[in-house]
């Protein structure tokens, strides 16, 4: 172990510990908030994505680079920490957390990100009083499915349009964060709306999230762009095949 690495590790651990000391409550829908029918429906929506993710994970673990599993482990730890890290937003006077799913989706793929997010959410619901077991399906759909697939979709689209990969990663992070909160607003409004249109409740919830999530989305974009650049510069071999699949050629 080299000494600069030791130093970085020594700085990283207390930073992570300090960052996660205060309980965060944000996009996670707490236990009991959603009516049973809606909670069950979101489980049904989440299930095929989790199964797809598990199959994708098994297939790629045996066919891709031997470092793929290590990358999944690193991304899993990052999503777990990022999604329970409260960040105060001075404009709003509230705290919320980024999700990390946009970054995860562009590094390991959206389906595997759903599995990673599900594990992080189960641990948070069980031990951190963060989210709930009955609302797990809804939380997986908003953070895992919507966050990962929408972020990844923007990443692919921008790469195809010729945008630099770092810019595409920035937009993926931003879009995944905002999509997560938009879907959370939809889940809440569908489950909680009084008689009449659910959309009449959707807009106020979404607007109420905005002061906190607009700046946090930008922060998540910066985090995703920076982390993507860092990882791909140091391990381009891990992403060459994935990029070729997206573009049919390796971009500069």
């Amino acid at each position: 172990m080299t000494s600069p690495f030791k130093l970085r590790l020594l700085l990283l651990i207390p930073a992570l510990v300090l960052a996660s000391q205060t309980p965060a409550h944000a996009m996670h829908i707490s236990e009991g908030i959603l009516p049973a029918g809606w909670a069950g429906l979101w489980f049904l929506v989440a299930l095929p994505f989790v199964v797809w993710g598990l199959r994708d994970l098994r297939r790629r673990s045996s066919t891709e680079s031997p470092h793929f599993k290590a990358l999944v482990g690193l991304v899993g730890a990052a999503v777990f920490i990022i999604s329970c890290m409260p960040i105060p937003v001075p404009f709003a006077g509230t705290c919320s957390h980024p999700c990390g799913t946009g970054l995860a989706a562009i590094l390991v793929g959206p389906a595997v990100t759903v599995v990673i997010t599900s594990i992080a959410l189960i641990l948070q619901a069980l031990f951190l009083a963060h989210g709930g077991l009955t609302t797990l399906g809804a939380d997986i759909v908003s953070m895992g499915v919507a966050g990962a697939f929408i972020g990844y979709g923007f990443f692919r689209l921008l790469l195809r349009l010729g945008a630099p990969a770092t810019v595409a990663a920035f937009v993926a992070g931003l879009a995944s964060d905002w999509a997560t909160y938009a879907v959370t607003s939809m889940e809440l409004s569908l489950g909680l709306h009084p008689a009449g249109s659910w959309f009449s409740l959707f807009t106020p919830i979404l607007v109420a999230f905005m002061p906190t999530q607009i700046p946090l989305g930008v922060l998540e974009g910066v985090l995703s762009g920076g982390a993507y650049q860092f990882v791909t510069r140091r391990r381009p071999d891990l992403f060459r095949a994935a990029k070729q699949k997206v573009l049919m050629e390796v971009p500069e």
């Binding site: 651990i13 996660s20 236990e31 009991g32 730890a77 001075p90 006077g93 009083a129 999230f209």
Partner: protein, 98 residues
């Protein structure tokens, strides 16, 4: 190295002072958006959050579990970071020297 550490210490001090100033001038309670948004709309719809299966939200217990979770996540992340970015480089260096 010494200069780096001094810069880091100064940056941390500046961050702490700015954060402290921010807390002083802002009268907000820094609640999470679930309380400020989710619980507010849920309460208006007549639904209240119920106690989680394992309720760690009791006194400083929640701080403890968050600290353990942060440390565990940090160690797992650090382990795989080393595997991906350092062991390979060490291996390449060894191969190069041989």
């Amino acid at each position: 190295m010494k200069r780096r550490l001094i810069s880091l210490a100064l940056a941390l001090l500046a961050a702490a002072l700015s954060f402290g100033w921010c807390l002083e001038v802002h009268a907000a309670k820094w609640t999470g958006v679930d309380e400020a948004v989710v619980d507010k709309f849920a309460a208006a719809a007549g639904r209240q959050p119920v106690e989680p299966l394992i309720n760690t939200d009791q006194g400083d217990l929640l701080l403890f579990v968050f600290l353990v979770a942060g440390a565990a996540g940090g160690f797992v992340g650090g382990y795989y970071f080393r595997k991906l970015f350092h062991e390979r480089r060490d291996g390449e260096l060894t191969k190069g020297n041989a």
